[in-house]
Every structure is written in C-alpha cells, then in structure tokens.
C-alpha cells in the first residue's frame, strides 16, 4: 500500500477540532483548502460525505469515484467524484494506505438486518449524518444521504467476489488529507458502531484540521 506524508504543519492550520465517537460535523471547505482527518487512537471509521457547497444535489458518488479510477479503494491520487462527474476533492496525502467506499454507513434499520432486532435502539451513523445535514441546511434530509466514504476502514474484496469487514489497517495518528477542487461541504459521522470490527469494538475520537491554500 502507498503511504504519502504531508508537509503541512498542524500549527499552521486555520481550524482544528477533535470529534468524539458518535458525534457529527458539518463544515464548509473552500476551493484550494486542505482537509486532514486524523485517526487519533487508530482503527476508527470516519464516515464522510461531501457535496458542492453551492449545489448540494451534486454530491459525492461512490460509483463515479470507483469507475473513474477503475479501482475500489481510496488513497493518494484518488479524485472524489460527484454524481455530476467532476471532482469534489483530491486525496493528496495518506498515511493509512487505503480507505473504503463500499461499506456505507450504519443505520438503526440496517443494524436490525445485520445483527438483530434488539440492536435497533443503538446510535448509528445515519442519525449523525441527518443531524449534520440539518445543521448545515435544514431543508436537507434522507434523500441527501447517499453512499459515503469510510476513512480508515478496511473492507477487502476477494477476487472471487466476497466482501468482509476486517480489523482496520489504520493506527494511532494516521491521517488522510485532501484538497478541495471547489467549495464543498463535508458531513461527517464519527462512527458509533459497536457490533463489528470497523472500530475495533471501541469507537474513539478523530481530529479534523483545515489549511488555507498554499
């Protein structure tokens, strides 16, 4: 796996925030700015959506991102494509090596399908995404929550077509950094899932940092 470090120093960031597990974040990232997400303690899934800040219906598309690079995993060089077919952001540094965009987000409803009816009451990413979307634009709703990125999550696909959730390839302090190709909004759910190894059964905080264009 390819690892690429960034030259940007945390001390020169214009924005820093630690997001606890189970919390959400909605924030605008202007064209040319850099967004870094840090897996502070390791093996945490950061469920992330992007959309055009001026046209929320032009949003991150897992299928268009996969199709454009003819590859499943996201890493340095991956352009995060929109449904309209143009890049929202480009990954410019990555010390984790690969990120998932097949696994989607957990929801109370999907937890009843995946685990048991008794898991219905557990906090899930869809709730955080809806809160983040409402925080940015109250008129947004479930229609606007499409298939997301899972930074730091490891969902390998085998050549015979099986898909598994495995312990993360990430570790404490690993990060992914991307440059906004236009004004975008990031909706983030720091995943609260306790029922599978995507967070090593122990959801932990992440940090987001933003730098102005260099």
């Amino acid at each position: 796996m390819k690892m690429t470090e960034s030259n940007l120093a945390p001390g020169s960031a214009v924005y820093r925030l630690v997001i606890g597990a189970g919390d959400h974040w909605a924030h605008e990232i202007r064209r040319g700015q850099f967004l870094r997400i840090v897996d502070l303690e390791g093996n945490q899934a950061a469920d992330t959506l992007f959309c055009d800040a001026h046209d929320p219906a032009d949003r991150y598309s897992a299928a268009d991102t996969i199709r454009h690079q003819a590859a499943l995993y996201l890493t340095t060089g991956t352009r995060l494509m929109s449904t309209g077919g143009s890049p929202l952001l480009t990954i410019v540094a990555d010390t984790c090596g690969r990120h998932d965009t097949l696994g989607g987000a957990c929801s109370r409803e999907s937890n009843t399908m995946r685990y048991s009816a008794g898991k219905e009451s557990m906090h899930a990413c869809r709730e955080s995404f809806l809160c983040a979307a409402h925080e940015w634009r109250p008129e947004l709703g479930k229609r606007d929550i499409a298939c997301n990125i899972n930074f730091f999550m490891n969902v390998p696909v085998t050549p015979d077509g099986r898909l598994t959730f495995e312990d993360g390839v990430s570790g404490p302090g690993r990060y992914v950094e991307m440059r906004a190709e236009r004004d975008v909004v990031c909706l983030l759910s720091n995943c609260p899932q306790l029922n599978n190894p995507c967070n090593a059964y122990n959801p932990t905080p992440i940090e987001v940092l933003i730098w102005d264009p260099v």
Partner: protein, 225 residues
Amino acid sequence: MWSAVVSRGKTLRLTDVGGGANVGLLLYNADLPVERYNMPDTLKGQHTFHLRHPLCLHSDMGRILASITADSAGWHDTVCGCSDARLVEGKFGVRTYQEARNEFYRNGLECFLIELAKWGLGRRDLVPNVNLFSKVVADEAGRLTFVPGHSQAGGIVDLRFEMNSLVVLNTCQHPLDPGPYRAAPVLLEVFKTPPPPHDDPCRVSCSENSRAFLNTEAYWALRAD
C-alpha cells in the same frame, strides 16, 4: 430506458436477447421513494461484492426490495455505476440525433435522470446502481477488470418483488466495457408469483436476509394490503 411500478408478488424477468447485455437498474419503494436500493447494505448484509441467485436487493431501511429467484449469469456488478456524457464522448465520440436519428449515442446517467423525472425524482435520488448481466472482478489491490462476454444470448434474471417497487432501468452498456458502443436489447416480462415460503432460497441464504424478510413482512403487517 424504462420505468414502471411493479407490485409486491410479481416477478420481472429480464432476458438478454442477443448476449452481452447490460441493464443499469435502480429500485425505490413506490409508495415512499425516499426508501431506495442501497448498495452498501446489499453488499455487507450478504458478505458479497456481486449479486446472483439466491441473493437480494436490499433497501436502506433494513428491508428487501427484490429477490433474485433465477439467474443464468451468476454475477451482476454492483459498484461501477453508469456512463455519463463525458465518458461516452471520450470513448466513442459524438453521434447526434440529427445525424443518426434514433441510433444516436445515449448515456446511463441521462437515461436515469429522464426516467426518474417522470416520477418526480431527480439528482437527489441518484445512488450507485446495479449492472445486471455484467461481471467486474477485483484483484487484491482493488483494481477492477470488466469480463467481456459474460452474459450469453437467452440468459435470464428473475427479480421477485417483496415491496411495491419503482423500477428504473436502461440498457446503456457497462461503463467499463472496452468494446464498441452498443445498447443490447433486453426483453422484459412480468409474472404473478406466490409469496416466498419459509424455506425460500433467498430468505434462507443468510441470517441477514432472513431478518430483512421479517422486517419487510412487519412493514406489510402495518399496511392494508
């Protein structure tokens, strides 16, 4: 391109008439289309990267929209999405209606948006689609390869609907298909089918599907059907 509401208890049979077809497919709960086919829940619920009999197409609400009750292809792509105008122009150039009449070049994204618009839906309702009859494999590094000639002439796939579903589809070719431009014909037929029994192969294919069938039946128990 085609769209229609197909009710619970009916089966849509798609036949690849001449071989090498691709059908880009999206499904919505026809009664409340904010519930829709969900690629991640479909894949992680069934621990698979591709669809085949006896697997199912899951909605994003923990329910089954449709079950694959028969399937001669054995592998249907779920992750590559559809072509758009830029892809078609880059691969094949431009062929306008003015010069080619109804042989002009179409693309998957435009076809989806045209059909969605007929039901009051649009860009906010676009999600990764299924590509029936198409096979794409991944290597250890995640690089994808389209497998040519996967679907044979006369091949079928049967979708038995467990929810009243808005079916939106088109026959634009798979976006990673390296072959020349084509839109291979597909025959659509709808049959009445009985409710899935307790030992239905799709219901019992994994415990996640069994629970999703229970969720789907709980949904219907609350409605006058």
